[in-house]
């Protein structure tokens, strides 16, 4: 029992995390996924590649990101000490760029001339547009028309950096439909196009690659926490949509069983309302976007529309490794409502002078609710996955303010 997680070595050779994951895509995509997998395996430990990546992370992204003590918030909460892993300070404003700087290098190694990506909140789209501009590669971003409306500033950011933004109005016009459309594009231009999936989702090897590139967050945290408090954190909290920021900060700690890992999904208007985006809390296993994972679906396997105040969590699935970690009990998953997230957004803004992304606010909401139940000596680290500048319009709308 004590060593239960010490052999954690996933995905297996078939791209599976237990029964989750896999590669459920049309035959046309298989060879491209195999090419990506074999290249990645070959170069991930290559010294030159790692040097190039590290250099980009330091000079382009601005890593390492600081570990910040939220002192005034801790005092207010009157419980555990709360620290924030400041991914919001990264270039382009979120953890998403950790993945895109890595994947663009893979794309170049494969000789791909064109990059596509899907985006929900627009953070992954912006992070992809930035690396494409830097490397001079054509960039096309698929984005649901509903998201284009609520994230207008990010759309403009992408365009400023030379990306083409393609509105997707099929299905529910949100992230899942953008991903469908990106897959359709990829299958059509497979020979010269690389698809940078933005989360730990999709067919193998994406959940692994995106996790690995984001795990710099958890790796840094290990070092920083040893220096700052002489031990690993007692709890690490992260929001979960597709789940890339959570996997990034959790993964290096999976074998350290003394560290509690908590993922927070979007409960929208409440789990019992059905209007939410919390497949781990209130979904069932199925297959979507190339992976077997927990989904929000009806009894016939049709994917349900989701709701969350944050576009980045508005997704009916979740990365397959989260499904696996949920079932094995290594990570504890809960959910926070729109209302709780908005309150946490305002609290952190006023008390710490940090405006978090609405996605991140879900993780903060968990801390608001639970910090006082914890010991004062406990250390809780929240992955502050992104900054909230992009959410001004949504927050103002929720507060009844028109610009």
């Amino acid at each position: 029992m004590a060593n239960k997680n010490n052999n954690y070595n996933y995905p297996d050779k078939n791209g599976r995390f237990g029964s989750f994951g896999g590669r459920y895509v049309s035959e046309t995509l298989i060879s491209a996924l195999e090419e990506l997998e074999s290249l990645y395996k070959k170069i991930k430990n290559d010294k030159k590649f790692q040097e190039e990546l590290t250099n980009d992370l330091q000079t382009f992204v601005g890593r390492p990101s600081p570990l910040y003590f939220a002192k005034r918030w801790t005092d207010k909460l009157n419980g555990a000490k709360v620290f924030l892993k400041r991914e919001d300070l990264n270039h382009t404003g979120a953890h998403k760029i950790n993945n895109t700087v890595g994947q663009v290098l893979l794309a170049k190694k494969m000789g791909k001339k064109r990059i596509i990506a899907e985006t929900g909140a627009g953070q992954h789209g912006v992070a992809t547009a930035a690396v494409c501009a830097r490397h001079g590669i054509e960039c096309i971003i698929f984005m649901g028309s509903e998201d284009i409306e609520r994230q207008a500033q990010n759309v403009y950011r992408m365009k400023l950096m030379g990306a083409e933004v393609c509105p997707v109005s099929s299905g529910t016009s949100t992230l899942k439909d953008a991903m469908n459309e990106a897959m359709r594009d990829w299958v059509s231009y497979i020979d010269d196009t690389h698809y940078i999936i933005g989360s730990v989702a999709g067919p193998h090897p994406y959940p692994m690659i995106v996790r690995d590139f984001n795990s710099i967050v958890g790796t840094e945290l290990k070092k920083q926490s040893k220096i700052l408090f002489g031990k690993y954190p007692d709890k690490i909290v992260a929001c979960v949509g597709g789940g890339s920021n959570a996997m990034g900060i959790f993964y290096p700690f999976i074998k350290d069983k003394e560290v509690d890992l908590i993922g927070v999904e979007a409960a929208g208007s409440g789990l019992s309302s059905g209007k939410h985006a919390a497949p781990l809390s209130d979904g069932s296993p199925g297959v979507l976007h190339g992976m077997k994972t927990y989904l929000m679906q009806n009894s016939d396997g049709q994917i349900l529309g989701t709701h969350s105040v944050s576009a980045g969590l508005d997704y009916p699935g979740v990365g397959p490794e989260h499904s696996f970690l949920k079932d094995m009990g290594r990570v504890h998953y809960e959910a926070a409502t729109d209302k709780e997230a908005l309150k946490a957004f305002h609290d952190l803004s006023r008390i710490e002078g940090i405006m978090p992304a609405l996605e991140t606010s879900h993780a903060l909401a968990w801390v608001s609710k639970n910090a006082k139940k914890l010991k004062k000596s406990d250390v809780v680290v929240v992955n502050l996955s992104g900054r909230g500048d992009k959410d001004m319009q949504s927050v103002a709308k929720a507060d009844g303010i028109n610009f």
Partner: protein, 266 residues
């Protein structure tokens, strides 16, 4: 037993290639689609019934919209099976294949196999179930003498083709281009070479689908293969007639007659 095998034999005896048609169950309602399928059964050799999915990743816009219309007419998997049963009252000989996405089939649990067999289905085409993930479904279907129809695409390496054909039955579905349904065919030579290669490795019939929009392409493709699949084109015809029954049927019949002739031409 063996309706799929028989249908290829029959076509051969009539010096024709096999005409396979696709339409989505429940577009734009269950009853309308039943009338379409009955019409298709009288002209085509094999009919594919599309199982609508909320996220049809491999489809172009025509079939995407068809899936959306079908879902808004409250089609369910059990209604689709009832539809198959009704079609079987009218026709006992022609193969009926369900084509759809993994999640809809998975949602039925282990009962799926018994239920489709009982309804009179002859095989499944699962768009997002590549060879590497297919062992379970292949074995389950084999146990009850149903076929898992495999898709092979222009990007499938020769080595994989050799593996796929060993675990195939019914027929093989060659996807004629890199892209989604209803797009334009790009490279005839590539199709020709690939189909020739597949045929050199197996005796199972090989049909060509995706992009078969007109009789001329159907004719060209059927010359180098054992048959063609027509889908988006038929839906488009019905859509253009705004689902008015008599007009839709009239133009559908006209188109089917032409496809029928074109796959027969030497």
């Amino acid at each position: 037993m063996g309706r799929i095998k028989d249908s290829f034999e029959r076509a051969k005896n009539q010096e024709s290639k096999t005409l396979i048609t696709y339409y989505v169950a429940g577009d734009n309602n269950l009853n309308f689609s039943k009338k379409v399928f009955l019409k298709l059964l009288s002209y085509a050799d094999i009919i594919e019934i599309g199982v609508p999915f909320s996220d049809p990743m491999a489809e172009g816009s025509i079939i995407q919209r068809s899936h959306e219309r079908a879902l808004s007419s409250y089609i369910t998997f059990s209604r689709i099976l009832s539809l198959v049963k009704e079609l079987r009252i009218h026709n006992q000989d022609k193969p009926i294949v369900l084509m759809g996405y993994m999640n809809n089939f998975l949602s039925q649990g282990e009962n799926l196999f018994k239920k489709i067999k009982k309804a009179g289905v002859d095989g499944l085409i699962i768009v997002d179930l590549p060879y590497e993930e297919s062992e379970f479904f292949y074995n389950k279907l084999k146990d009850i003498d149903l076929d898992l129809i495999r898709l092979i695409s222009p990007t499938t390496p020769k080595k994989t083709i050799e593996k796929i054909v060993k675990f195939s039955s019914g027929f093989l579905y060659y996807v004629s281009f890199r892209g989604v349904t209803g797009a334009k065919l790009s490279n005839f030579k590539e199709v020709q070479d690939k189909v020739k290669y597949i045929k050199s490795k197996t005796k199972i019939p090989v049909v060509v689908g995706f992009g078969i929009k007109e009789g001329e392409i159907a004719q060209k493709m059927s010359k180098i293969s054992d048959g063609v699949v027509v889908g988006s084109r038929l839906i488009d015809i019905i859509q253009q007639n705004n689902f008015r029954l008599s007009d839709s049927m009239k133009f559908l019949e006209k188109s089917l007659k032409k496809f029928r002739r074109d796959v027969r031409k030497k």
